[in-house]
Symmetry: C2
Subunit: 430 residues, 2 copies
């Protein structure tokens, strides 16, 4: 962890630099897998499962029996925790429901938006050492609230052909319709194009390794929508002298354990805090099971001291962190000035872990500075707002002449004529 003291503005970009991210170089490799799934369907998927997940499957769909068995395999304390998280995520996302208002923009011209769920959505949950049941909740709960008619989930099975019971339990609690034992690029391709078993969906959500990311990007170029571009996870802690160094250190480490390319930075107005945090990080790291990963990613981590809170906030908005933890005396004032971030955690008792699991906010968030342009996943991600307009004869009479003039000046005479024939009819009827 490098300590950077009072960098000049010219040094900010370098100080805030993230690990590089570009998966487009994988497009060729990924494309051949996608194309095979596109043309051969289930057969190709089964072959790729044998090749990449080292498993011989007879059936891609998780059966009802497997879903029921899973419930009995999950410990009661975890079930209760998942149910609590589900309730909070549901409460927060249900409050995001949109009701369009009818607006009369000119007399007789009424316009409105209607929110409609995306009919079929696909959720990808990566495999690996730990079962990411929390991500199942974060994606399936808003999909269900939005009213998506079909919610499909793909996740790689283990070598025995099984999906972790906690993932199946979370899927069942959240209302996923179908779970498939498919991982990696073949999962993305199956959901993008459909196979004999897997329904074609219109939008694909979820994290994954660089191959999954590349596959999502490729299919998004012409076939389906995706949630957002993905990159390594990151946290910024913004703190002043009132912050508890134990909490700050724990927050930096919790991000660092995600993977060796995770990015944790501290921006603070307090030199004294930096020294205490550094000591605390070393102490806590020694006790962490995943210390190898965390130590490695903390190597690229920065502890940055700045002159004042104004500068700290400006630097924060330049960095645009996925997660921002604000541990300052006046944290609500700071919150007002944050304009670029994915999700913000305010005060001493709001660790990132709260939002990762159970506060109710979503944990699928823009990384890599994408918070400058993207929001995290929310109910909005699962709906579209269709616009409607209804013009009465009075309405077209009021704005028709303006439309005719504009259409003519854009040389679109057919557009003008579509108004003219209506105005002529109204005149005749009078």
């Amino acid at each position: 962890m490098d300590i950077i003291k009072y960098p000049s503005k010219e040094q900010w970009e370098e100080s805030l630099k993230r690990p590089a991210l570009d998966t487009t170089f994988l497009f060729d490799k990924v494309e051949s897998i996608i194309n095979k799934v596109y043309t051969e369907g289930d057969k190709a998927v089964l072959e790729f499962e044998a090749q990449f997940d080292k498993v011989q499957l007879s059936n891609l769909l998780v059966s009802k029996e497997e879903m029921q068995d899973a419930e009995s395999c999950v410990a009661d304390d975890l079930k209760d925790a998942i149910r609590l998280a589900h309730k909070n995520i549901e409460t927060f996302h249900a409050a995001q429901r949109f009701e369009g208002k009818k607006i009369e923009t000119s007399p007789g011209v009424v316009c409105w938006q209607k929110a409609v769920a995306i009919d079929k959505v696909g959720l990808y949950i990566p495999g690996g050492t730990a079962p990411l049941f929390s991500t199942v909740l974060m994606l399936a709960v808003p999909a269900k609230i939005a009213g998506c008619r079909e919610i499909v989930l793909c996740t790689p099975p283990n070598a025995a052909g099984k999906v972790h019971p906690a993932i199946l339990f979370a899927a069942s609690v959240a209302g996923v319709d179908k779970v498939f034992k498919i991982g990696g690029v073949q999962a993305i391709a199956a959901m993008a194009y459909g196979t004999e078993s897997v329904p074609k969906v219109y939008k694909i959500f979820g994290p994954g390794n660089q191959y999954v990311t590349a596959a999502k990007q490729m299919v998004s170029l012409r076939d389906v929508a995706i949630d957002m571009p993905a990159g390594p996870s990151e946290v910024e802690v913004l703190a002043d002298e009132t912050a508890n160094p134990i909490f700050v250190a724990a927050d930096l480490i919790s991000q660092a354990e995600h993977g060796v390319d995770s990015h944790s930075i501290l921006i603070t107005t307090s030199e004294a805090l930096v020294d205490k945090v550094k000591i605390e990080v070393d102490r806590q790291l020694a006790q962490l099971p995943r210390r190898d990963i965390a130590s490695k990613s903390l190597e690229s981590s920065k502890l940055i001291v700045v002159n004042n809170m104004e500068e700290a906030i400006e630097m924060t908005n330049q960095y645009a962190p996925e997660h921002l933890i604000v541990q300052t005396g006046n944290y609500m004032d700071v919150a007002d000035k944050v304009i670029n971030a994915g999700s913000v955690f305010l005060g001493p008792y709001s660790p990132e872990s709260a939002g990762d699991y159970a506060s109710g906010t979503n944990h699928t968030l823009p990384t890599n500075g994408y918070a400058h342009a993207y929001s995290g996943v929310s109910l909005d991600s699962f709906i579209r707002k269709i616009t409607f307009q209804e013009l009465s004869s009075q309405g077209i009479a009021n704005i028709g002449a303006a439309i005719e003039v504009m259409a003519q000046n854009e040389s679109l005479y057919g557009h003008r004529n579509a108004v003219s024939v209506r105005l002529a009819t109204i005149k005749t009827e009078k």
Copy 2:
């Protein structure tokens, strides 16, 4: 225009087929232009303007004098029309402002969303025979309402190095900050990466030819966000026996004049209507200045007769049209059942032209079936919703144990520890 009568469900896909769309084959060509602008900035842009727009520019920025001159060159009737359209677009989009509510998901756990404008946005307005000042309004008005701090517009100049005065007037009315004389791929690259003259933006909006589309897709893979994937424009008219064939024909033609790859279809329950529409199309086409383009695109157009309104609506939702005009007796009932469309025009007096110019709805809409997953441009397109959460000590005490259990089961011990250190502190304080 082919007439298709009572197709079976198996024939629907073929009946609704759009002209093919894929610009990824242009990536190599486009990449070399992007890279040159990325490394050489203004110098490269000026060279490409000489090469592609056949113009020697000394300055890329449209000057204040040019902006003022433009105002005096635009006819009064067009100015008034632009001002009326501006007012209606502003009224409708201002009503889309979002206020987040604070939600207490568990006692002491408060979550909310805050809408924040994307700081810098770039708008692209294509050149060509006609000045698309209407698109200037459609993109700049919501950007201004959202509160984007810098709104940049690029549009190709003519051979004399001038931008059409109606574009400059619309930009001025709508509150665009800077207009640059740059077209094509070099404009997209300049806004994506910034040059000495052009500010780097975080999101790029606007239509364009296939090169512009490819460039937007390429830069969106890692650098900036884009509004949505673009394809040829399209309209569906959904009509029953009550529809006026003159209006239906005018609406099909108005779409067809956009370009030879535009797509116009009629889905109707009335055989009699189809015959009348076909006659009317021929009659109106003969009088249309752009009949060469319109006739060409109408070749791929379909007039489809179905058995009943239910089938018509199902087929419509499968097609997911960019523009849907509903001319039926019960059009409000139909509106309730539309789940896939960009913008919907209800009743006899709501031609697509109304929404293209002046009703207040946006005309930047999802084509190519993307309406299954994407909304059109709206105020949402220019903001992000940042989530915030504030947990009190009571809040973390309430949900902390659940977070610890979930984190442990995902093998994320650092995440658990970030909660544990806080719970320990709270206990000590008691």
